[in-house]
């Protein structure tokens, strides 16, 4: 282990190396006062460095545990169990759920993109409502954080979707359970709205700030199970001159979101816009923010028009195969495509 891997400031690292302390073992037997002398720093500072160093080397020693050779690692077998027990948020469209393996997976970052008006915001609102379905109905009984960068969140629409969701739950009750008790304590759409925490973001700085702050926010509101960002793109598309900086900031943001999803076992849904890209001799549609961003999320779903129907296509996923499924945006929210009962068509 080298000193250069210690999380200490650059000048301290420089002083350590120039005084000959290049490896962690060289630090293990030195006293704080000696180090302070050698480096010409205060004893307190030397003590801090030694603490950091011993914490780091301590990790190396205790690693001889039963299952983990490297600290913090899990065996693939454990992960398999975890994956099987992991929960998913239904999209309210069973065809879409099928290709997603049951819904939007918690612990993962899912990106959803599509042309304007295809239904991205609709899906975002639907998920913010569906995450609250009580456990009795197979839901997560969680809460949702909705980060709105575009101002497209419509509270009236959320109300409609919540109403429809309650109706569906009652229907489920009366058909499958004949359980009148449960019918009694029906939920109010307002309860659903009360569990959506809405952040309105007006600049990319605020977007970064909120994402940094989420970790603290979620640890104070442990029942948050879904974070929807609508859209991740908007501010990053307007305000940037320096593309390298944009890529770095986006990368940092993606890492934080992934960590958030893992630590708190929640689903992160990023909505993205589309742009055009020139490849293989023709212009094609592609999701915005460029190629390096496309590595940032675990799953990527593209919404598109196929003939007269809206389709969702799984463009990227480590565990699901590429597949497409139709869905519909109805007055009640996202639903299965009712192609057999077509309504009045124009022309």
């Amino acid at each position: 282990m080298e000193v250069s891997s210690l999380p200490i400031s650059a000048s301290q690292r420089g002083k350590l190396i120039s005084s000959g302390y290049t490896s962690l073992s060289s630090l293990s037997s030195v006293s704080p006062s000696r180090l302070a002398q050698d480096l010409k720093i205060s004893e307190n500072e030397a003590l801090e460095i030694l603490k950091v160093a011993s914490r780091r080397s301590g990790l190396d020693i205790t690693d001889i545990g039963a299952c983990a050779i490297v600290n913090g690692a899990q065996t693939a077998w454990d992960i398999l169990h975890e994956e099987e027990s992991s929960v998913r948020i239904t999209t309210s469209c069973s065809d879409l759920d099928d290709i997603l393996g049951g819904g939007i997976n918690c612990k993962e970052v899912t990106e959803v993109g599509g042309v304007p008006g295809i239904g991205k915001t609709q899906l975002g609102i639907q998920l913010a409502i569906n995450v609250q379905i009580p456990a009795d109905y197979g839901g997560l009984e969680g809460k949702a954080v909705y980060i709105d960068t575009e101002g497209s969140f419509m509270v009236e629409r959320a109300f409609q979707i919540a109403e429809a969701c309650i109706e569906d739950m009652q229907e489920y009750n009366s058909f499958l359970r004949k359980d009148f008790q449960a019918c009694q304590n029906r939920k109010d759409p307002k309860d659903f709205l009360d569990n959506i925490f809405y952040f309105r973001i007006c600049s990319y700085t605020e977007q970064i700030a909120v994402i940094n702050y989420l970790e603290k926010f979620v640890s104070e509101h442990k029942d948050v199970k879904a974070v929807v960002i609508d859209s991740i793109t908007f501010h990053f598309r307007q305000d940037f001159e320096d593309m390298a900086l944009r890529t770095r900031l986006l990368g940092g943001m993606a890492l934080k979101l992934m960590k958030l999803a893992k630590t708190f076992n929640l689903a992160v849904i990023l909505l993205n816009q589309v742009t055009t890209k020139y490849s293989e001799g023709s212009f094609q549609l592609t999701l915005a923010l460029g190629d390096s961003w496309s590595h940032a999320c675990t799953n990527r779903v593209i919404l598109y028009w196929n003939g007269n129907e809206r389709y969702a296509h799984i463009d990227k996923s480590p565990s699901m195969r590429a597949a497409s499924a139709p869905y519909a945006v109805t007055g009640r929210g996202i639903r299965n495509c009712a192609s057999n009962s077509k309504r009045v068509k124009m022309m």
């Binding site: 629409r157 605020e206 908007f234 094609q284 109805t330």
Partner: protein, 367 residues
């Protein structure tokens, strides 16, 4: 929020001084750097940087609201829960009350279809006293194409609200509430937008109309990508203007013909091209909205005005609240009106198509 000063955030003195010494003054400066860049620059350890960043982030992130409090606020504080009724019954019903406050609503359509007529009507409606269903406020009308006609607007007013405008001095007062700006260039437009920010709050402005957005760009640039970038700033500015002053913003957009190499497919669709026979319907309509896809993402509601076999339709093409409905309309001396309040629901990409087949291009005065 982004320009909050780090020195006033209550960070420990020692670290706050380090930030100041490296001239990282605002939250924006700090958050535009990654943690490692900050470590290098400030010459402190990772733990301190993370702590400081967490603190800065917490303070500079805007406070949250629950969706419920948002709904209740709107119902309590805003007239008609934040909508400007268009007085077109079917359209109002589909839009849950009219043109919503706080978002950008776009009108797209071929020349002569009635976009400006619609804008004039809206301007009139917003200036009406609230007893007659108006907003009782001033209107700012940015007329880029020099199409604004007071005569036409007053005529519309006399025909549709004779009882109000025949009142003594009413026509003068109403027309006096509508302020028309005619910027000649994009720079001029930009300047007036910036001034608007203040005057909207001071002068009780209840509606902002920009007719049209596309004309600004086509006047300055040629074809191609710069078109999108030139408006990047305006897009976010207009959106935030709508949001913070909570007024409806209506912009119009022109149409242009679709280029042959226009992208309408994703790469995964192209690979399976043999499976999907070329969509013939997409060749019917060669028209697309003049401002590109980035603009289309930014508007919250898009209304398409189009004509098919001589009949005019208004369609709700993009809206996160309304179903995709189409209404038959006509334009008469009293302005735009719907022939059928029920409308038809549309399916599929028909929602986005813009047709232009044989409309007269002038106002139909005989009905």
């Amino acid at each position: 929020m982004a320009n909050k000063l780090i020195s006033q955030m209550g960070l420990p003195k020692s670290i706050a001084n380090v930030f100041a010494a490296r001239s990282i003054i605002t939250a924006k400066d700090a958050l535009s750097l990654t943690e490692f860049e900050l470590m290098e620059l400030l010459d402190v350890g990772l733990a301190e940087v993370t702590l400081a960043l967490a603190h800065i982030s917490e303070i500079s992130s805007p406070p949250y609201q629950t969706a419920l409090s948002l709904l209740e606020y709107r119902i309590q504080n805003e007239y008609l829960a934040g909508h400007l009724p268009t007085q077109l019954k079917g359209l109002d019903a589909a839009l849950c009350g009219g043109i919503p406050f706080g978002v950008v609503t776009e009108l797209v359509g071929p020349a002569g279809i009635g976009k400006t007529q619609f804008c004039l009507k809206l301007a009139l409606l917003a200036s009406l006293p609230s007893t007659y269903g108006g907003l009782d406020g001033s209107v700012i009308y940015i007329d880029v194409e020099s199409k604004f006609s007071s005569k036409r607007m007053i005529e519309m007013g006399f025909k549709s609200f004779p009882e109000i405008l025949h009142m003594e001095g009413m026509a003068k007062e109403m027309a006096g509430r509508i302020l028309v700006l005619q910027p000649a260039s994009l720079t001029e437009f930009t300047e007036s937008l910036q001034q608007l920010k203040v005057s909207i709050l001071q002068h009780h402005v209840k509606l902002l109309i920009i007719d049209s957005m596309a004309a600004l760009i086509s006047g300055e640039n040629g074809q191609g990508p710069p078109r999108q970038h030139a408006l990047g700033w305006h897009i976010s500015f207009i959106k935030s203007l709508a949001e913070f002053s909570r007024i409806p913003v209506v912009v119009t957009n022109q149409v242009r013909s679709q280029g042959r190499d226009e992208a309408s497919r994703y790469s995964f669709q192209v690979q399976n091209r043999t499976k999907f026979p070329e969509d013939l319907s997409s060749f019917d309509s060669h028209l697309v909205a003049a401002l590109g896809i980035q603009w289309a993402h930014a508007v919250s509601i898009r209304l398409v005005l189009e004509s098919r076999s001589g009949q005019r339709f208004i369609k709700i093409s993009k809206s996160s609240i309304s179903p995709p409905m189409a209404f038959l309309f006509n334009i008469t001396a009293s302005g735009i009106f719907l022939l059928d309040d029920d409308g038809v629901e549309m399916m599929g990409p028909e929602i986005n198509a813009i047709h232009c087949q044989g409309h007269s291009g002038t106002v139909n005065f005989d009905t």
